[in-house]
């Protein structure tokens, strides 16, 4: 039961203990979803799943994350759906629909708080969001950006959206916030590229030093765009340190399909899996699990998804497990590096490709 997990600190378990706990819980979830979601049950049959063959977490079937875009997948009655979350997607793209009931929503919040408080303490902190408030208001825009903000809202004391609707920086709001929480711990949250484009660059133009030395700069959404500008993670951190005195950086990886179970960055720059979730890197050639240090397709498992069959997913991202149980920060479990989205193949032939449907 999930309650067994709540008794523990989120990074407490070593490899063997975590494996036992996780395998048991994930098998229960697999069985639960088999019983309550007909499509998922067909999937299990087609891949030839047999409970007695599961020797480890990696033997639990992985379900393609893209299918949440094609099917409405629920393991609860529709009337019990408390909220529907959708994934990011540019205009015209199909979006994932994730049906969350009360129970799942509560566990998502609980786990998010447990993970984050391991980084910045148990106290609720004020949060400066580098985004516009309308990212939540407009249903069409309610994407991974919105979902991440909502998730964090729960753990924050006060939330201030510091961008105007046209993405310009609202200096007045910023100044008020900084005045109010001067010398105190607070969170700055935003998607990496937006933080760089709409926050850093704007502050730089003002040409003055802002004291944000107590802040945690929490980012997400990947580094691809900044890499295009030839800006490394370290450059990013150095620049913010210089301009605002920021010392605490907390990048994270997560997805709307497994909200709550984020992979947060420690002071050594590693993204950590908590006891609630894990990453298995798979070889594209045969989907067999790869060893530490090898690049492959990421499978993510999480014990939170109850109302929809999202507890074991094959993502479309590439990553590497850098190590396990031995990060100098002291957190147990795997720590990972995200390479980014799998590259689209330039296929030959005259047909529209399957992947095209989702562009």
């Amino acid at each position: 039961m999930i309650d067994d997990f709540y008794q523990l600190n989120p990074y407490e378990l070593n490899k063997n203990d975590k494996e036992i706990l996780l395998r048991k819980e994930l098998m229960l979830l697999t069985e639960f979803h088999r019983k309550h979601c007909a499509e998922y049950s067909s999937f299990l049959n087609a891949v030839g799943y047999k409970e007695e063959n599961v020797k480890s977490v990696s033997d639990i079937p992985f379900f393609p994350v893209r299918l949440f875009k094609e099917y409405d997948l629920l393991s609860v009655n529709r009337e019990d759906v408390f909220k529907t979350m959708t994934s990011s997607g540019t205009t015209g793209q199909a979006v994932s629909k994730i049906f969350v009931d009360k129970e799942t929503a509560i566990s998502q919040q609980k786990v998010m708080i447990k993970i984050l408080s391991d980084y910045w303490g148990k106290k609720r902190l004020p949060m400066l969001v580098i985004d516009t408030h309308s990212v939540l208001k407009d249903r069409k825009m309610f994407s991974a950006r919105g979902a991440a903000i909502i998730g964090l809202n729960i753990v924050s004391k006060e939330t201030v959206y510091v961008l105007n609707d046209d993405m310009s920086l609202n200096f007045e709001k910023l100044q008020n916030f900084l005045d109010k929480y001067k010398g105190q711990r607070f969170i700055i949250f935003g998607f990496t590229f937006m933080v760089w484009q709409h926050f850093y660059k704007e502050l730089l133009k003002l040409g003055k030093f802002f004291d944000m030395s107590e802040a945690f700069l929490m980012t997400g959404g990947g580094w691809k765009k900044l890499q295009e500008e030839a800006l490394s993670r370290n450059d990013f951190k150095d620049r913010f340190k210089k301009l605002c005195g920021i010392k605490h950086f907390l990048d994270h990886y997560g997805m709307v399909e497994q909200t709550g179970c984020i992979y947060a960055e420690c002071e050594y720059g590693h993204l950590h899996a908590s006891i609630y979730s894990d990453v298995i890197i798979r070889d594209p050639k045969d989907f067999k699990p790869l060893d530490i240090g090898k690049k492959g397709i990421m499978q993510v498992v999480s014990v939170l998804p109850h109302s929809y069959p999202g507890h074991s997913l094959l993502t479309e991202d590439e990553g590497i497990v850098i190590g396990e149980d031995n990060c100098p920060c002291g957190r147990k479990g795997k720590y990972i590096e995200i390479i980014g989205r799998l590259k689209n193949a330039e296929l030959r032939g005259c047909s529209d490709t399957y992947a095209d449907k989702f562009k």
């Binding site: 799998l342 296929l347 005259c350 095209d356």
Partner: protein, 399 residues
Amino acid sequence: MRINSNDIEFLVGNFDVLNNMPNVPVLPMFSDKAVDFLSELSKELLNDKRVRGYIDVISYAYWIRKSSLVTAKNKHPDHKNRLGRGIAFHIAPSNVPVNFAVSMTSSVLAGNINIIRVSNKQFEQVNIISDAINALLNGKFSNLKPYFCIVRYEHSNLITEELSSICDVRIIWGGNRTIETIRQAKLPPRGIEMTFADRFSVAVINSEKYLQSDIKKTAKGFYTDTYYTDQNACSSPRIVVWTGGKIKEAKEIFWKELEILVKNDYDMKPVQAVDKYNSFCSLAMSSQNVSLNKQGNNLIMRIDVKKLTPNLMDYKNGGGYFFEYDAKNISEIVPILTKQCQTISFLGENKEEIKELVFKNGVRGVDRIVPLGETMGLEFIWDGYKMIENMSRFVYFGE
């Protein structure tokens, strides 16, 4: 024309040639001019050192050599009654580099003046062939200059509309969305259109005959039919239907032999593994009749299908993704011979029998029935069209 000349890149021809096209006389079908031009183009290509790496350009060059064209001419006995329709506007596909030239060839032989829009993607094959055409048009075939413009332009409704408004035949190579987009542009009242939409294809193999065949050669042929074009050509088999009494044995050897080639020659991208797995899972969730074959792997993903239904091909994929069906009788394939079905390739089956199946059942699909390994062959008949005839008109003057 309302087109700004700066918006079009000319690989062959120029804006003046384009503007003058409505005034250029059409040629008779299989005119000496056209046949000479193409056979010289064949020589020009085969002399170009750059073609070595491009088997598709080489195949094309062989296809248009003199003897091959003379054979084709003999197969069109009514060519003396036929001449070009006028201006042919070809929209080539984005991912089959040599296709633009194949389309152009039928049209030149039909007697048309040609505007060919090639993809914005850069392909060396397109450069090689355009260079060769330019060399000829700037040399001894300068009299054919008015007949060719090969162009590139960014997606522009205006340009497509203008070019459509002056054409007599429009040839659109798919996919379906390209066709839908181009069709927004009107054709003149007498303009005709040929569209090449998304299709799928089927392979039928008799297990007993297969075991007696040259299995290495069959593997090579099937590889060419499928992986060579990422199994994404219209002619690529998406399903293998097995007949005869030794299916289990035949399957084992067939896929093992194919795997040797795939491992050596095919560069599967990680995203393709995910794509294929997605397609399979999506299918599995809507049908109880399928299961993943455990002997398969990500390079060759095999899906056992217990019952053939028309919607099976909604879940097709490429890059080494095969449905498999064991048939007691070949007539069991009728449900999948839908409009989208293009080619049936066969090994060890009687082609008359397959033809009979198509005709007797009056199915909407199946335009070609060819031996396994030959689905990629260049022909003047494609997708149910006799290409050269369709692009020309017949002048009736009595018996």
